[in-house]
Symmetry: C2
Subunit: 216 residues, 2 copies
């Protein structure tokens, strides 16, 4: 870009920026007005149901990020892990250091193709939901995470109507995060925030196995 | 479903399941063989670059989930927050409790429409990248998170080629997580795992504002 344009405007005082900074500032002033207006229209506080689903990486890790975020605000948190459980994960090792801040339950015994026992998987899922329901009836929990619950619902191990009814009966300010592939529509309908984690690429396809700290 | 089918097979011994459990077991045995084969083809260990991008909720929280996962495995972690920084977040409050396990730098001053000063934003982004580069040259960091870096790249505050070169020169076993909307293609090409967080619905549209523990 040539620099021979007159720079007489005081707003474009920074030498050589060709007025770009001032145009940026004007655009941001307008953008702030639009965003502030949107924010003014969203002033309600309440407990929310957040679902992370889809085939991409980031569903459970996002859930654990919200758990530590809540702990940072002094909230008591609860975790119930459905399905998973065969291998101790980094998140479990870490969060078990704070038993007063995070109640952590690993209720699964591994993926369905590892357990190969549907009756036992169902019994485990039902026991996990009993723990989850207890948290949903206890207003001392500020945020609870039901990790891989979507899979238990998708496989028909739990009744989605029962799960939705228990979620809807929870304390008004309690947040619930639910993760896992294949979230059923009835759960999506009951949720406030839903993200589909869409895979663009994955290290596994390059021959790189699950890495501690990243996938587990 | 009628229950009058003969139940003489020892594999379907559970009364009333109509052979469903045994079909499940057979399917899972086949599935395990397929999955075990895929796992056998992915045995390489190396540091990975993970990108979470897109407009949906879960990008930064996923990054923080990986930070605590890594801490659970005893890794030293580092966080550099680009853009964000005006408001202390739950993740910052929490992770600052562990200065020996997580080095946390908040380098931004808020969203572009709040700062309204492009020259200052660029200087801040460059200072943040200096911190990031220092971590990328230090093999004592097992996992580093560059939160909202994608936005700084998208806005042209940092040169993507410089960033990619610094990433590629890092220690072999170091993991890097990069978050934010609008990840540039050159960064996606350099990454191992990329997820697009696709919004299905968001509480904000219902008039619910950002909730502590969930969004901040």
């Amino acid at each position: 870009m040539t620099q021979d344009k007159p720079q007489s405007q005081p707003e474009s005082a920074t030498a050589g920026d060709d007025g770009r900074n001032e145009r940026h500032r004007s655009r941001m002033v307008r953008k702030k007005a639009v965003i502030d207006d949107k924010i003014a229209q969203a002033q309600r506080d309440c407990g929310v149901i957040v679902i992370t689903t889809g085939n991409g990486k980031g569903k459970s890790s996002s859930g654990f990020g919200m758990v530590v975020r809540a702990m940072g605000h002094g909230m008591k948190t609860g975790v119930v892990q459905f399905i998973k459980g065969a291998i101790p994960t980094g998140e479990e090792k870490f969060l078990r250091r704070f038993p007063d801040e995070c109640e952590f339950h690993v209720m699964g015994e591994g993926y369905t193709w590892e357990t190969q026992d549907r009756t036992r998987d169902i019994a485990k899922a039902e026991a996990a939901w009993e723990q989850a329901r207890r948290m949903l009836r206890d207003p001392s929990f500020g945020l609870v995470l039901f990790d891989e619950l979507n899979i238990a619902l998708k496989l028909g191990y739990l009744d989605v109507n029962t799960v939705v009814a228990d979620l809807q009966a929870r304390p008004e300010m309690q947040h619930v995060v639910i993760t896992g592939r294949g979230a059923p529509q009835a759960l999506i309908d009951a949720a406030n925030t839903v993200t589909d984690m869409t895979p663009v690429k994955h290290a596994f396809a390059e021959g790189i196995r699950a890495q501690a700290g990243v996938e587990m």
